[in-house]
Subunit: 303 residues, 2 copies
Amino acid sequence: MSMKLHILGCYSATPRAQTRPSAQVLETGGHLFLIDCGEGTQMELRRYKLRFSKIDHIFISHLHGDHFFGLPGLVSTFRLLGREKPLHIHGPKGIKEAITLLLKLGDSWTQYPLLFNELTAREPQLLLEETGVAVSTLPLNHRIYTNGFLIRELPGERRLRPEAARRYGIDTAYFRKIKKGADGLASDGRLIPNAELTDPPTHPSSYAYCSDTAYKPELPAWLKDVDTLYHEATFLEKDAALAAKTGHSTAREAALIAREAGVQQLILGHYSSRYKDLQGFQAEAAAVFPAVELAEDGRVFSW
Amino acid sequence: MSMKLHILGCYSATPRAQTRPSAQVLETGGHLFLIDCGEGTQMELRRYKLRFSKIDHIFISHLHGDHFFGLPGLVSTFRLLGREKPLHIHGPKGIKEAITLLLKLGDSWTQYPLLFNELTAREPQLLLEETGVAVSTLPLNHRIYTNGFLIRELPGERRLRPEAARRYGIDTAYFRKIKKGADGLASDGRLIPNAELTDPPTHPSSYAYCSDTAYKPELPAWLKDVDTLYHEATFLEKDAALAAKTGHSTAREAALIAREAGVQQLILGHYSSRYKDLQGFQAEAAAVFPAVELAEDGRVFSW
């Protein structure tokens, strides 16, 4: 199975002429999940030709403006586009009051069901488990209540070897059960062990989004076997004091989390605008964890 | 005196990859007034290199998202930029609750004074009169409570003719009074009539912003002698029924207002995205009122 991550925006704090605040879309098994929704996200969705209509779940990490001030506009645009199916918004408690107040002031209620899942838990919590995928929270350490999100494809079925099934003359009526692990009945009455008829399921892909957060020692235990980790790196080590003060991480701290968790790939983002050049982030992280990539607005990652 | 109008966005409803919702900056006598603040306005301010720090007053016409969903982000950015001087926000009742709720949720109170002037009046109302300029409301007819804004430079002083003052040997100590209209005392004791010593003040410029509104017959009386009128033209006449239903105007209706008010120049904007080409707006309006221009994102008008 596979995932595709579209970075719509990966800069911290104030949007600028050329940089966008946090927002990204994860594609997995027919789902389009929007993660965070900074100001201008709907324009970026259009710019990269991502299908609005396929977004059914939006996950908001926390209620700082650079992570959710694009949400009221997107909710309104869904209304103007004639959306009918429900939209689920998962985010910190208070998000419902904010969005509904803005809609009320504009006398612009959605004609589609707008469903809020308000979060308060301090421990990881399952948000969603449907058609091949599960999403849970990763409580983070920031100045206000914040969650990261862990998205795991559910293990698929075993993969039938058609030539083996033919060789033993197995009736197609048994295929569904065999893909679920059952042994197969050959045409001569023998019971053929499942391992001879199938290959193991393909590797279920997984992704973790951790922004915004200070270095959080509990994270690696929650991220075991994750393929790709997006971890904020607002600062470099030389500004570690500023990172600590503002509840953010350095590139090195992000790499330490990635190494201890044993993820396949680390993506850095949420850069402070004080750095003119992003190469310092890559270098600092790579010294600890070599498989590191830099998010950039518009960049797409697949695994 | 003179005014300069920067169109940051002039399209209706949902922002798209290439078009921006309503926002504009009027420059007059050292002031930078921001009028409406659709999503993404702060990025456009940066794109056109307009000085954030000079904005002390923001005027919001109404609380539909395409006119104010950029405001929370701008208010937050002023905080991050270390603003200290007060920011005045003039807009419909409810705007204070909306902005303060969003700041509260993010635990992001401004360190600068954020002052709201909440509007409810149904008749024109003076909002501001300071250093050379006055701003008042133009109540409009839309689906929700909406105001346009009329910005007039105040008449300046009479302009001293230096060579005439010298010829009569008038002491410079009298110049201030002469510029205010007093006659001048010549060195030989004669009283010289003011008209011989001064020219009339330069023409004070004026600007009216009317968006969003259905055709409103009271407008021309309020717009007498206005130089430039920006009037919404969401639709063309062929969609007049839609304009009436949604509380908007056609290009022809905007031109009728301009003609009856006798303004110098009409600027159209707030186009519906249903029209691929804007020339139809110009043609339709010009048949009624020839001095018509089309707003476009990024266009600058001076008068």
